[in-house]
Symmetry: C2
Subunit: 213 residues, 2 copies
């Protein structure tokens, strides 16, 4: 089954609603846009909006699907002889470096941040996203290290690793909000990543090293 008309239509509708909403939010702010307005602008009923999105905040974060297990994925995909933390550091560096060439990726990121900045509900959502990331990392670490049931270590390690990720993005967000240039920010973040790595203990940097096959 390729994909029925029904499926395709649903996905399009969903995408369209989310796009329209995001546009409106960026234009006028999260609070200043009512769900009713979004529905009207997207040519659907309010109920349809709620059919796709459980809450208003989800309209804004729809594009961030796949973010929740980023770190866990990176960890599982780490190379032989590489630890969980080092894998995450490497991937982060890669991602940040990849921005310089294609700066376009970050265009508009500041307006995006601005919306979040002054909408408490959106910030809450970001936090629960962090929580999800953390939980996924814990699961990954448990599986990768075969830690015992009550072992608190995977949890602590996940905390450290997620902290790295979070520190980077909070920093990026802050800089973008102040209007810094993407290229400059990306260069600066590479330095930050070095600082961060220096702050991690050997224990953390060497946790969950994948056996060299």
């Amino acid at each position: 089954m390729a994909e029925g008309l029904r499926e395709r239509k649903k996905r399009q509708t969903r995408q369209y609603i989310s796009d329209v909403a995001t546009h409106l939010f960026i234009e006028r702010g999260f609070d200043a846009v009512t769900v009713a307005e979004i529905a009207e602008a997207a040519n659907v009923s309010v109920n349809t909006v709620y059919n796709y999105f459980p809450a208003k905040e989800d309209l804004f974060f729809d594009r961030s699907a796949g973010v929740a297990d980023r770190l866990a994925r990176w960890i599982r995909a780490r190379g032989a002889g590489e630890s969980a933390a080092r894998a995450v550091l490497r991937e982060l560096r890669g991602e940040v470096e990849a921005v310089s060439p294609r700066i376009g990726l970050m265009a508009g990121y500041d307006r995006f941040m601005r919306v979040i900045q002054d909408a408490p509900p959106l910030r809450s959502r970001l936090w629960s996203l962090q929580q999800e990331i953390h939980d996924n990392v814990v699961v990954a670490l448990r599986e990768e290290t075969g830690a015992e049931e009550g072992d608190p270590l995977p949890d602590l390690m996940a905390g450290q690793i997620c902290w790295v990720h979070q520190a980077v993005f909070v920093h990026i967000g802050r800089e973008m909000l102040v209007g810094r240039e993407p290229a400059e920010v990306s260069r600066e973040v590479l330095v930050l990543l070095d600082d961060i790595e220096e702050l991690l203990s050997e224990k953390v940097l060497d946790y969950a090293v994948r056996a060299v096959s």
Copy 2:
């Protein structure tokens, strides 16, 4: 001026409303209690409730005033030759040890956690509380170390220090939710604190050491 009748009454009313609300939340859960019910149970109008508390969640967290600057206070009050991180570790140990004798302090803490557990809005509030704590720590560290304007170190260090605090409380919360005995949990947390300390790098443990007078 000692304190007018008006002031006293206000404080009593506030306290009473919050108490009534907390009781109801613990009895039936956050969602299952409407602000109107709380108002009625406290013999005030709904508007009066909103006079004192900006949002429903604040009714539950009113008692946690003073929590926001705990860490910052601990850091500022650290002893000569002691670093910020070590001060926090010491205070945390002290607090945890102090629980064993007076176990009463933690009675009911599990029901308290339960309410938070299944009320997303309450969890959000906890997160913003963490954020407040973090921000206060950053300010404290900046002042104590005289770090330069753009120096990202205080922020990173604050992240590590707050992580310690958070790890401890998340752990306590989880254990209490599972119905563990307070005394047992407290003993276990002391071990956890050792694990945590071992995970911190020297850099973190030795940041912002107060000069020996």
